[in-house]
Amino acid sequence: MKFLDEYRDEALAQKIVDEIRRVVTKPWVLMEVCGGQTHTIVKYGIDRLLPDEIELVHGPGCPVCVTPLEMIDKAHTIAQRPDVIFCSFGDMLRVPGSDADLLVLKSRGADIRVVYSPIDCLKIARANPEKKVVFFAIGFETTAPANAMSVWQARKQRINNFSILVSHVLVPPAIGSILQSPLNRVQGFLGPGHVCTIMGYREYEPIAERFRVPIVITGFEPTDILQGALMAIQQLEAGTHEVQNQYMRVVQRDGNSVAQSLVNEVFEVCDRKWRGVGSIPKSGYRLRHEFHEYDAELLFDVKEIDTQESSTCISGLVLRGVKKPQDCPAFGKQCTPEHPLGATMVSAEGACAAYYAYGRHLQATNAPRNS
């Protein structure tokens, strides 16, 4: 096994779809939490394979999308300083701030570098002792161990010209926020497989119990998603609301305790603002006081930057599963991946960008599914 191709088997996928058709008796709304899952669903047309009773709505799990505009403006302010080398994952480069994006700033002379891993920034810092190297540390729980390790190693190796701009968010508080909303339509969740690889799924158990929703921790390949959907539908039909693990080949109930331990040493939980959603209590990480000398937000004095969003964008409703991309009058017209108006169009993993990339803006909004 190579752990990829096996989970893209078309005949197997069709069999799972047939099983879903067999067990479903009434309409259900499922939300996949992760942007990676959204991308797989739209790319393979999984939502259109499912029977009419099953509606998939797309969750807030795209960290590039939910990084607040003001945090992007802070990044741009720091990146334009002549004494800074600004490092970022590639997917943040084209996300526009109020003025420009990182690629435009690079063309204007800013030293902006794409890194594969935050640990690569330490090499850049060692090679450029006269510069301040700043890494844009965004992401969910999946990415937190890597970002925590970069800071922990910087301290251990006495690298003093490295810092991170932290915009970390956490999945369970976002799920809680969606379920508490009076607009909520979601009846079951496909949980975030890679987040749970790190964190395990114990913290989802009280959510499933309190809101009486099934949560199935699910992988990212087509048959993973279909099997996760089948398990959630079986629970909904049976009236149960448990946390189940479809992604057993990598996820364990307690997660990766080595990674959790270092994350907790470097970061602490804080309130965070989510683009399109607003502030959610205890929904993110910030550096602990002991690591403040690595906090770019403090070092470069950008705390006061505050930015307002476009008022026409409905991405907050899309991120909560209340609306679909094509419900927005700007989708595919004023709002495109080149000129995004809001959160869900800024990254390939955002629901609007995924719908756009696979041509759904070209199709009639009332076209029948399953065709």
């Binding site: 096994m1 190579k2 752990f3 990829l4 096996e6 989970y7 197997l12 069999k15 799972i16 047939d18 099983e19 058709r21 067999r22 942007g35 990676g36 029977p51 009419d52 799990g61 795209c62 960290p63 590039v64 994952f89 594969y116 891993s117 935050p118 640990i119 690569d120 965004i138 992401g139 969910f140 999946t142 990415t143 161990p145 890597a146 390790m149 190693q153 251990k156 190796q157 975030p192 890679h194 987040v195 690889t197 790190i198 990212f220 048959t223 099997q227 479809q246 057993m248 080949r249 990598v250 996820v251 364990q252 990766n256 080595v258 990674a259 270092l262 993993e349 029948p368 399953n370 065709s371």
Partner: protein, 92 residues
Amino acid sequence: MCLAIPGKLIEIVQHPSGIRMGRANFGGIVKQVCLEYTPEAKVDDYVLVHVGFALSTIDQEEAMRTYDLLKEMSQLQELEVPEIREVTLGGP
């Protein structure tokens, strides 16, 4: 962003800085991987890699078991009575 890819671990090395590193093969592309969070990982194991860090070692037995279960489910369906198959395949 939370993309993580399975790769086969082909080498484990102790970096001069003390970090446990390795090299993993992703379908022909070999990349460096930090193994600090997977102390149990051995050469020839498949590891799930995100931004240069192995997040977990893939449980091959579990992977086979899940896959076999899915296959078995599809075989069981072959035995289903024709009425159900007609209904299930009759969608638009």
